[in-house]
Symmetry: C2
């Protein structure tokens, strides 16, 4: 984990941008403190529960990066009154009007970033939709604060190779830089120009005009990121410790007590070149067995098999033996657990237990 | 929920079996008390954390229905010392020897059920594998207690229609009744003959020789169970309340603040006749919109669309409006939440909040 954090920091430093890590991956104060530039932030969150939880831990520079619903503004104002520089995200005039009205009502200009749709992935204004951008900006400044523009290159998760990822990164950069130019030309402020996804953060060649990068999963990495080509299997800093509870020898199955409840049902590698099932199986020190995957999962049962087509044989794992399973998606697997057991490298000595929170 | 519980009770009463509900679906003391025959049980659990949690709530007749690992026996003994009639499950001689040895060490005959593989779904001894069954039984009684046999017709989840499900139920019944006969013929005890899955529990025509039925998801039901034909959409007693946070009108998308973190990534209906995406979208009182599904999901973003091929149009949902989303799999969606907000029928008044626990 520390190596992964250092790697992204070194990568971003010469590009002249700050890092506003997304804390939704780990949802842990200890991980947040390791990954942020200062103990107070900046940070990105995906729910207001996260904003509150991290505010309680002293983090006071936060973007809530999921489109704001008007009824949530009361909570935003409450957190801002506690001294948290909490900004919201929106992509419609209705939301901008709601933020402006709530700001006037509270006597507090709530900062908002306009979300830009850089790749058709989900929400956001198209970067060239000048009229809508300006209308949102104008509605916002009637009481609220136009803090800037923000985008997320969600499409980069399905790109492959450094060249394709660098193109995603440039498209992500250009979308917000263009949108910022439109706002500024219309006489509107746009101090923050925010991009972010782990694949683009690790492949952007130029971030001119961008002020900050948000990224989350780089802290742990996972099999999907390895499949995208952003990390090696050995960089993955999160795994599930499981125990062998049975065999179906005729079928080539080893049964373990980690099913989808422990791994999540994320099957992100199913669409990649190498389908890793529900995870890659390692020995208890974290060294992967050749071609061994968690091929299927029920709630609390996992079925370990040799990857289809492989000539490798099953390792001699006995009932009670432990294995570590690397997950497809760190955010999803983390969410299935209430805490992290912290080990150094291949050691199995638990040096700390870091609590994780959930809910909304 | 109460109607679903009543329905299974009425169904099982004339079949002369007791109900040992699986508490893994809800992981809630309040739901457990509603679904069990008595406040003390009997009950089924999928982790020792559940066993401990429910023991703390006064439940004292529990089967831990996932194959036992030897190192977990210390915890089993600890719970049994507290007065919990906790039984374990196993399917190998090694496990039986470990249970027998631990029983001798603790001066407490730990009860164990031999798991039978009725349909090749995951773990268990084949019902006709006489030698292995008897060898396990004999190893067990050298200190431990042979409580009986147990199976789970996991394959019934992919069957369709009452006739096919009745055949699954009969295959499930026959597998344990046959295994019990083999053990008894060998002079071994087999007082408990346990079957269970929601689809077979609702379709078994005859349960002769069976002493108890385990079932879990019947308490809430879900879209997968509706697809199997066990319930109607209107029986589903669990939903996720979400808020509209945006639109991509050209694409026919409505964005909500419920993604896979709220719904889980269970896509169980993808293999069924009607693919429900990540869930069926209802108005805030729980009435489904025509052909409206949560078609895609990111961590905290959901994309609502009209079902592919449908001629229906999107309902006029505005930013801030709320919808309820029915899940594919109640066990998986419940696991994403820390509590249940309890409402009566179509009311939106929260009458209680029931805590849910997780972890291992």
């Amino acid at each position: 984990m520390n190596r992964n954090i250092g790697r992204l920091r070194e990568r971003l430093a010469p590009l002249g941008v700050s890092l506003r890590p997304h804390l939704k991956t780990a949802k842990s104060v200890e991980v947040a403190r390791a990954v942020m530039t200062t103990p107070q932030g900046p940070a990105t969150v995906s729910t207001l529960k996260e904003a509150q939880f991290f505010a309680d831990a002293g983090i006071n520079d936060i973007i809530y990066a999921v489109g704001i619903a008007p009824w949530k503004l009361a909570k935003v104002i409450e957190l801002r009154k506690r001294g948290v520089n909490l900004a919201v995200v929106l992509d419609t005039i209705e939301q901008a009007q709601a933020v402006a009205a709530a700001s006037r009502g509270a006597g507090d200009a709530i900062p908002a970033l306009i979300e830009i749709d850089c790749d058709g992935h989900r929400s956001g204004v198209l970067p060239g939709d000048k009229d809508r951008l300006i209308a949102i900006g104008k509605a916002l400044v009637e009481g609220g604060e136009l803090r800037g523009v923000l985008t997320h290159a969600g499409g980069s998760y399905s790109a492959r190779g450094a060249e394709a990822l660098a193109r995603c990164a440039e498209q992500e950069r250009r979308s917000v830089v263009d949108a910022a130019a439109i706002l500024r030309e219309a006489g509107l402020p746009c101090p923050v120009v925010s991009v972010g996804s782990t694949p683009t953060a690790h492949n952007a060649a130029d971030l001119s005009g961008v002020t900050e990068v948000r990224a989350g999963v780089f802290v742990f990495f996972d099999l999907v990121m390895a499949g995208v080509g952003i990390c090696q299997i050995d960089d993955i800093a999160i795994s599930v410790l499981a125990t062998v509870i049975g065999h179906q020898r005729e079928k080539g199955w080893i049964l373990v007590d980690a099913g989808w409840m422990a791994m999540s049902q994320d099957r992100g590698t199913a669409k990649q070149e190498i389908n890793q099932g529900y995870g890659v199986v390692c020995d208890s020190s974290g060294r992967p067995y050749d071609d061994l995957i968690l091929a299927d999962a029920n709630q609390e049962h996992g079925i370990i098999m040799v990857r289809p087509g492989s000539q490798k044989s099953l390792p001699d794992l006995k009932i009670g033996d432990r294995v570590r399973i690397l997950p497809n998606h760190a955010c999803a697997t983390g969410a299935q657990h209430r805490s992290y057991h912290v080990v150094h490298g291949a050691s199995d000595i638990v040096e700390a237990e870091w609590q994780r929170f959930g809910g909304w």
